[in-house]
């Protein structure tokens, strides 16, 4: 293992980390801005131009808040909760292909932290660990509302992971690979998955709303019933980590949606750009295309938040188990039949 390789990978990892943090930060700003605009308001506009410094102000505020510990026997777990939530939210981005190869310093550099051949499994695995952050933190809070919220969050995540995985299987049947890079390349050659698998896309989209605990499935933190949900007892930066993890999750799930269904860094005319303008410009444009898709999905999350009211708990379970899972299974069967017929 040569040092150039380590430097190259470290640079990419740091860049991805910084990008995730930056996006999570500015998602909080965008959330408030979009919420305001959808309600005919203006939103934050005091800190910096258009309120652009608002996330910094929020961060400074959270840092300087009192570090409060509830009367709990599990101080260690109480600290571990936001730590797990934050780390799982951040490590998912390792397998996302941010762009094609670029040619710098006489070397081909792949814009991806690591291209492991089971990246889809990796993503699902890390997503499942994510619920431990909520569960452990809420359990250690020693608060009944937190615990109820954690119970809701975990049952919701378990239910929707099944449908999500089944929707993913139909994609994997088409690509024949578990690598996100391969899935992107396949889409670049054959066309985006959303056109072949619209049903899988809708199921995956709904499930990712549930997985990120966003409205209409934000039962884990519904204020009217559970105060703040799992982070009721949290304050200061631990609270900040939970909120941050939520937005980082949103960014990552938008990225996965874009990569799996909207062709990742592929954009119409990519081959032409690569052939005529060079692969570097192609890769940069590809990254921008992926970024635009991610931004669209983040906007979509916020847009839906202010459109659809929260589901009732039984409706949530009904939708997950009785509608989405059968639909996903039917989708797999149809995909299989079509693949056999047309190959």
């Amino acid at each position: 293992m040569d040092s150039v390789f380590i430097i190259e990978k470290s640079a990419i990892i740091v860049a991805v980390f910084a990008l995730t943090m930056l996006m999570a930060m500015y998602s909080t700003w965008a959330e408030r801005k979009v919420a305001a605009f959808l309600q005919d308001r203006v939103g934050p506009n005091r800190a910096g131009w258009g309120g652009l410094l608002q996330p910094l102000a929020d961060g400074a505020k959270l840092f300087t808040k009192e570090e409060f510990f509830p009367n709990t026997p599990n101080k260690f777990l109480f600290i571990l909760g936001p730590f797990i939530a934050m780390s799982t939210a951040l490590i998912t981005s390792a397998v996302i292909p941010w762009g094609d190869k670029i040619h710098v310093f006489g070397k081909d550099v792949l814009l991806q932290a690591t291209d492991i051949d089971v990246s889809v499994l990796y993503v699902f695995g890390v997503l499942s660990i994510g619920v431990y952050g909520i569960m452990i933190g809420a359990w250690a809070s020693n608060n009944k509302y937190s615990l109820m919220s954690a119970v809701r969050a975990s049952s919701q995540m378990i239910s929707y992971e099944v449908a999500m995985g089944l929707a993913m299987i139909s994609i994997l049947m088409m690509s024949g690979s578990l690598s996100l890079k391969e899935i992107t390349v396949m889409q670049a050659n054959d066309g985006w998955n959303i056109f072949y698998q619209p049903l899988a896309f809708i199921i995956f989209l709904i499930c990712s709303f549930a997985e990120t605990n966003r409205t209409p499935f934000d039962l884990a933190e519904c204020e009217s019933e559970l105060i703040g949900g799992y982070h009721t007892e949290y304050s200061s930066m631990k609270m900040g980590f939970y909120l941050f993890a939520e937005y980082a999750n949103m960014f990552i799930s938008s990225a996965i949606l874009s990569v799996v269904f909207l062709g990742g860094y592929h954009f119409p005319g990519m081959d032409w750009v690569n052939a005529n303008w060079g692969i570097n410009i192609g890769a940069i444009l590809g990254f921008l295309a992926l970024f635009a898709k991610i931004c669209f999905f983040i906007f979509f999350y916020m847009w839906v938040r202010w459109t659809i009211p929260r589901f009732r708990y039984d409706q949530l379970m009904h939708l997950g188990w009785k509608i989405l899972i059968p639909l996903a299974v039917i989708n797999i069967i149809i995909t299989g039949i079509v693949m056999v017929l047309f190959k």
């Binding site: 979009v34 605009f37 959808l38 309600q39 005919d40 308001r41 203006v42 506009n45 809708i202 847009w303 839906v304 202010w306 459109t307 659809i308």
Partner: protein, 181 residues
């Protein structure tokens, strides 16, 4: 047209429990319609008034901070009769009367004037009964076009004559515009 069908607001919507159609039951189409509604709001004109930079135009009958009026010659109209204090349901007004000296004729219109005139803005309910009670048309809630500002100390809410009496510039302006008319 029967009484049941009349809609005074013109926005009456009949509630019905009819079976949902297939399109409504799969829910996605209705969600798309909802998304379209919210998307339209994204581009709508914002109703927010950015307060310190912009202020709302006040209604001509908006009752805000009181103003003790001056007449055309710039003299204070108040004669400290105490009717405003008497009429005040919140007992927010106190005053101390004094006799006008001969050299003060240009300052006060009547022979008696209010040496101290204080309104406790925390007590005041802005009902406007003082305005109605005043026989000299000396106190108005509609003229200052000001809202009573927030403050930190209770004492700071007791407004004396320094804050209540009409500023001289305003009196001069009023007199000039009256002359033109």
């Amino acid at each position: 047209m029967s009484v049941q069908q009349i809609s005074l607001s013109g926005r009456k919507i009949e509630v019905s429990n009819k079976e949902m159609t297939f399109l409504e039951r799969i829910y996605l189409w209705t969600i798309l319609k909802g998304l379209w509604t919210t998307l339209k709001h994204l581009f709508r004109r914002k109703v927010t008034i950015k307060y310190p930079e912009e202020t709302r135009t006040m209604s001509p009958v908006y009752r805000g901070q009181h103003m003790l009026m001056r007449d055309d010659e710039g003299r204070e109209r108040c004669t400290a009769c105490g009717l405003c204090a008497l009429s005040c349901p919140a007992e927010a007004i106190t005053m101390k009367a004094a006799e006008r000296k001969p050299e003060e004729k240009h300052l006060y219109r009547e022979e008696k004037y209010a040496e101290i005139y204080e309104i406790n803005m925390l007590r005041c309910i802005f009902c406007g009964l003082c305005e109605e009670a005043c026989p000299k048309e000396a106190i108005y809630l509609t003229k200052s076009k000001k809202i009573v500002q927030a403050n930190y100390e209770r004492e700071d809410f007791i407004y004396g004559k320094d804050k209540l009496v009409m500023p001289l510039e305003m009196a001069i302006k009023n007199t000039q515009s009256n002359k033109v008319n």
